[in-house]
Symmetry: C2
Subunit: 235 residues, 2 copies
DNA sequence: GCCCATTTATAACAGGGTTATGAGATACTG
DNA sequence: CAGTATCTCATAACCCTGTTATAAATGGGC
């Protein structure tokens, strides 16, 4: 997997440096000269390895999707699929909250060079899982939704369609929160995200009581997780 | 209101040209030299009137919010507040679908110069309506939500909190759809947005039957609207 | 050990935002 | 009405950033 000890090293280090500079300096820090200086090479490295800044930014976006998927994969499955959905949401939100600049690029927002990293069609017809790259994140939501339907918590429905509803709501909340609405800190979670999750669960067929119970289960799981792993996540 | 017959004219024409070029050429068309050439002035106009490209882009973003609010304001009030919410959602989505580049800037996405047009806190504590600028769009959702609560369609709840849930879901759907997910054309509306609306309405206290009925009412209103006014909207 | 391909540094080019400067127009003032 | 101050705008340059041409250097394959 690593036949070139130094060449790919530069490529990887460029992406790492890009994410690092992005986090601390925002989109305007994503410059060929800054990146090159950061790892001690010339700007040519950007062109031999990526062909240009646009492709490098694409790679950064892909890396963001990969990180998001990796985080969501850590959420695991319990016997309460609705609680798992809440945990996925909490994790999704946490990832964006910790690295807003990275995920702004990942989601195609504020692309530095006027370049977008849009994906492509996802649920093209009705339920195609033609996830082009990084849409494994969506798959996690789909699987949890599927289990919620099978467990009788959600009404029988197209799992992709139901998952897309959840994803829309979650993504919208995260996006608006990252834009500064919904206040700072955790208040958006308590005041909006959790009520939103209960609203969706109930609307999809769950009872208020069970949805609220799943909320508490997810909260407990989250506290246990942050207690064990500190709060740095991976990376 | 217009003591300077020509001076403010240049300012307005710059913003108009910016939106025009943005629509056809994307974010990379938002350049001082292109804007100046478009209206037949020099790039200095950008600096005498705005101080720089960043402020001009901010003004474009503000204009986008204004247009969105104006569109939503056209969605009057009927005796079915839930149908009104669906109509607001349809309008919100339509605005973004017609001018995706403009609203990408408006929502702080893909800001051309690495600049963001973020607003600030909105529901700071629990229900402050300290909308800084252009958050009148959110107010339309709040008012319709309030009427839905008063009409007994939604359970008693904090109107800002409930409206924020609706806004999150709507904004997430629109954002993801604009990024190319959910397919092209109207299929995202039928397959995801409308089911999402029903899910939310039911989750907030409405019955499935009444929510579906409101969906049909909103559809009919939309058809009537597009039949009367063509499909160009304002602008 | 030699040759080819890849990688890299240097230096220049091109296209952006921005600024210095002065001319022109406009509005106030006596 | 003349003069002056202010605002607006065009020209031209400056700086920064992405990109490319070129050649040196490094490393793998025979």
């Amino acid at each position: 997997m690593s036949p070139k000890p130094r060449a790919n090293d530069v490529k990887e280090r460029l992406v790492e440096a890009a994410i690092r500079l992005l986090d601390v300096g925002g989109p305007e820090a994503l410059q060929a000269r800054k990146l090159a200086a950061e790892i001690g090479v010339s700007t040519m490295a950007v062109y031999t390895h990526f062909g240009g800044m646009a492709a490098l930014v694409d790679e950064v976006a892909r890396t963001g999707f990969g990180k998001l998927s990796a985080w969501l994969a850590e959420v695991g499955e319990t016997d309460d699929p609705v609680a798992d959905i809440f945990s996925l949401a909490r994790t999704y939100r946490q990832a964006v909250a910790e690295q807003p600049q990275l995920f702004a690029v990942t989601f195609g927002q504020s692309a530095p060079g006027g370049k977008r990293a849009t994906l492509s069609d996802l649920t093209t017809e009705e339920g195609r899982e033609a996830a082009p790259e990084g849409l494994e994140a969506f798959d996690h939501i789909v699987r949890a939704t599927e289990r919620a339907i099978e467990a009788g918590r959600f009404r029988p429905a197209d799992k992709y369609q139901a998952a897309a509803q959840l994803w829309s709501a979650l993504h919208g909340f995260v996006t608006l929160e990252a834009s500064g609405h919904f206040g700072a800190g955790e208040q958006g979670i308590d005041h909006i995200l959790i009520p939103l999750g209960i609203t969706l669960a109930v609307g999809l067929g769950d009872t208020v009581e069970r949805a609220e119970h799943s909320t508490e289960a997810a909260k407990a799981a989250w506290r246990a997780k942050t207690r064990n792993a500190g709060q740095g996540g991976n990376d």
